[in-house]
């Protein structure tokens, strides 16, 4: 089994001198059966180690169901873009218990997996080879942690494309299909069966127990998983960093389609424009009102205004220190056709040379 750490979300990257090389067979043994669920009933929490490293992440099952998306008109501090409320049906999926940390993200972004293999003289597995074919980003022009902390802290400042490409890499690396959540999936998971402004009720006075926000964050992001989780066990859905979802941001939700009987099935506003796209959950620099379950925010080009190179990098939002992401894994893996039509996956990027 994996290292028995009473871990929150992710473990420190292997000191590369610890030659505890994972063979393919080992890796297969280590793969918890829970990750192989085929039906909603079989879905359980599982922890996945990224092959060839000591870094792992935890996934929690989110049962399928219906909920009311958006906020009611009488909710304190609500914004007009949280309407109209509509009934939405969601299919089951697993969701990251925590936001993706630098520990996980760097393995992809700095190709640490490849470097570790080279150092240890380990041959790539078939999955490694597939993962190697996924583009890695160009190096950031400056330190993207901005000296706020690295191990156990959420990865930030990535574009939606970078977050999606990470998912693509992780899918190849693990053999499971990971992607960003849709906005509807995100809100469903955030509410976790609640209908109040926050998943802990309507009282913003309690927010400090559950979230990092303007008044308790010491003006920077904080380690993931340190605050109380929501009813479904997810940490930091409110606050810490905003989280990318797949959808294009629009000023309101599309008016409910009269021709559809019952709840909207798995809605998604497929993104066709680069800006604005949706991030959810608020961040360490926001006030409680902007951490509500229904609060939405659209991305802006200004999020990279300090990138000194032209073309500005497709991988970084140099000024979005409040944006990160969390991954999901739908129980039913979508077809190639669906993935293309709904733009679930990252488009292929060829790095400029």
């Amino acid at each position: 089994m994996n290292g028995q750490f009473p871990s929150v979300c992710s473990l420190l990257i292997a000191a590369v001198l610890a030659f505890n090389v994972l063979t393919v067979a080992d890796a297969a043994d280590k793969e918890p059966a829970a990750a192989d669920a085929k039906t909603e009933k079989e879905m359980k929490p599982y922890k996945q180690t990224i092959t060839g490293t000591d870094v792992s992440f935890e996934m929690l099952p989110i049962p399928g169901g219906t909920f009311t998306m958006g906020s009611p008109e009488d909710e304190a501090d609500r914004y007009t873009d949280e309407a109209p409320q509509r009934e939405v049906k969601i299919e089951p999926f697993w969701m990251g218990k925590c936001e993706v940390t630098w520990d996980e993200y760097d393995i992809w972004s700095f190709s640490l997996d490849q470097k570790i293999r080279k150092l240890r003289g380990v041959e790539p597995t078939e999955q490694d080879k597939k993962a190697d074919a996924v583009t890695r980003p160009t190096p950031p022009y400056t330190d993207m942690t901005f000296s706020m902390g690295h191990d156990g802290f959420p990865a930030i400042c990535m574009t939606q494309l970078a977050a999606k490409t990470y998912c693509k890499w992780l899918s190849q690396k693990t053999g499971h299909y990971y992607r960003l959540p849709t906005e509807a999936e995100w809100e469903y998971a955030c509410r976790a069966g609640t209908t109040t402004a926050f998943s802990f009720g309507d009282d913003p006075g309690k927010i400090g127990e559950y979230a990092w926000y303007a008044d308790n964050s010491d003006d920077q992001y904080q380690k993931v998983g340190k605050k109380k989780p929501n009813p479904w066990g997810l940490h930091d859905m409110h606050g810490n960093v905003n989280e990318w979802v797949l959808d294009q941001y629009q000023e309101t939700y599309p008016a409910p389609d009269k021709s559809v009987q019952g709840p909207l099935p798995s809605p998604l506003v497929v993104a066709t424009e680069l800006y604005p796209r949706v991030v959810r959950g608020g961040s360490w620099e926001d006030d409680p009102a902007d951490l509500r379950s229904a609060t939405r925010r659209g991305s802006e080009e200004e999020w990279k205004y300090q990138d000194p190179q032209i073309p500005q990098s497709v991988w970084y939002h140099t000024d979005a220190l409040f944006v990160g992401f969390r991954i999901v894994r739908p129980l039913r893996v979508p077809s190639e056709k669906e993935r293309a039509e709904l733009k679930l996956d990252a488009k292929k990027v060829v790095n400029q040379r």
């Binding site: 609500r78 007009t80 470097k115 160009t138 950031p140 330190d143 942690t145 000296s147 003006d219 902007d290």
Partner: protein, 451 residues
């Protein structure tokens, strides 16, 4: 609670860096140009770009986003593909800014090759942006001043001591000719730096006893071309310029200069007189992780201790190793407190606790706003010496790590060791050549002679 629109949220409203608010841009009055004042009735500044890579395109975009009539009219690059790409990107940026007319480069004003810079200077331009690899900067700057052009040049401004001296001499000439010179050390135009350094200068942390400055990161772009894709060794090194010391200066010079420059600034070093800079440097560095031959000859880490005349020390680290913690910050420890700069934390701890909060305008834009405002009003503006001395600060660090020896400021400043090639041509030999396996000789502390 009443319903609010999105606009009513203070935090959500990301302060837009307005692209054309030139602070202190004077009204166009009597221009006192030694050379071509903009002809009466035409206040259009004509810009030439020399070096159309990522930063050149960025600088050109910022120059063309300043207040008043301005046009890019000529462009030079060693490579035609880089030139065309660069021009296309700048065009794209200007279309986005809804000022497409600000790019007006005629076919005959596109120049390619080693002598392209001179052709831009010979064309009808008022200002040139120098953004080629740093090794060429002294030659280009000297030529620009000789041609009576105002200059914006990227840092660093040289890669060796003779280059620094050339820049210092040209800086004097520029002053005499009342030519404005901006240098891309944009922290000098970044509000939190300006505010906190000013407080330090006014005694907020007492006397500075030590400083710590860092640029630890994962590195920069990977080599862009293989040997097979290049016409020869010269093109190969030019395409992959970051990895050759004559072109780049090594990352301690190309990148870490920003942080070393802040150390000099905190110490009130005086660019006008050359006083107050470090008197010596010693340190160690090497190639530990980035060892593949495709990475040329530069080190991947340097750690240098600088000593100022009053005994104050500056401890410097720069590292290009993916997977290690990043840190791009500066700190000074004084008798009454500590100042932290860079990253997210701009603050003073101690007797005069303070923290800079809030947004500030993009310093890359501000540096151009101020330079072009000075050009329009004929106000003296010279950042060249500061650029030269901070470049030399970084260079003595490299000389110390390459040689393993203590390097004196004056010994370095007077060094006759030039890194530059004898001849600039695609079939000429660069100053550093690989063996039959394509491997370069790496500096060998204890043996390498550097001054």
């Amino acid at each position: 609670m009443s319903e609010k629109s999105n606009e009513s949220s203070t935090r959500r409203d990301f302060l837009k860096a307005s692209s054309v608010v030139a602070a202190g841009a004077g009204v166009l009055g009597n221009l006192s140009f030694s050379s071509q004042a903009f002809a009466a009735g035409d206040d259009t500044i004509r810009v030439g770009l020399i070096g159309a890579g990522g930063r050149g395109r960025g600088a050109a975009t910022q120059a063309l986003s300043t207040e008043g009539n301005i046009k890019l009219v000529a462009i030079a690059d060693a490579f035609s593909d880089r030139l065309e790409d660069g021009l296309a990107y700048i065009n794209g940026q200007m279309q986005k800014n809804k000022t497409p007319e600000r790019v007006d480069v005629a076919e005959e004003n596109k120049f390619v090759g080693f002598d392209a810079y001179q052709k831009v200077l010979d064309s009808d331009v008022d200002v040139v942006i120098l953004a080629t690899p740093p090794g060429f900067r002294p030659i280009h700057f000297e030529a620009a001043v000789n041609a009576d052009k105002h200059v914006f040049m990227e840092k660093p401004v040289a890669t060796d001591a003779p280059g620094v001296r050339k820049v210092l001499a040209a800086a004097q000439a520029a002053k005499q000719k009342n030519l404005a010179v901006g240098v891309g050390l944009q922290r000098h135009h970044q509000k939190p730096y300006l505010e906190l350094v000013d407080r330090v200068h006014n005694g907020a942390i007492g006397d500075i006893v030590a400083m710590r400055v860092y640029w630890n990161g994962g590195g920069v772009w990977d080599p862009r071309r293989t040997r097979e894709e290049c016409s020869g060794e010269m093109e190969y090194q030019m395409r992959n310029w970051y990895y050759y010391t004559w072109l780049c200066g090594d990352h301690i010079v190309e990148q870490h200069i920003h942080n070393l420059d802040v150390g000099n600034w905190l110490m009130k070093a005086n660019p006008a007189t050359g006083e107050g800079y470090p008197v010596s440097a010693s340190g160690m560095g090497g190639r530990q992780v980035r060892t593949d031959k495709k990475y040329g000859e530069i080190f991947d880490h340097h750690a240098v201790e600088y000593v100022y005349d009053n005994g104050t020390r500056m401890y410097s680290q720069c590292r290009h190793m993916p997977g290690c913690p990043g840190n791009v910050t500066e700190h000074a420890h004084g008798t009454k407190g500590v100042v932290h700069l860079g990253g997210r934390d701009y603050s003073i701890e101690g007797e005069n606790n303070t923290k800079f909060k809030g947004k500030y305008r993009d310093p890359y834009q501000v540096e151009h706003d101020q330079l072009f405002a000075a050009i329009r009003s004929g106000t003296p503006y010279s950042e060249a010496e500061r650029g030269a001395y901070s470049t030399l600060t970084a260079i003595i660090g490299r000389l110390a790590t390459y040689s393993g020896k203590e390097i004196k400021w004056n010994q370095a400043l007077n060094s006759e060791i030039s890194l530059m090639p004898e001849t600039y041509a695609w079939d000429a030999a660069p100053p550093t050549l690989p063996n039959e396996h394509g491997e370069y000789q790496i500096a060998h502390p204890g043996l390498s002679k550097v001054v």
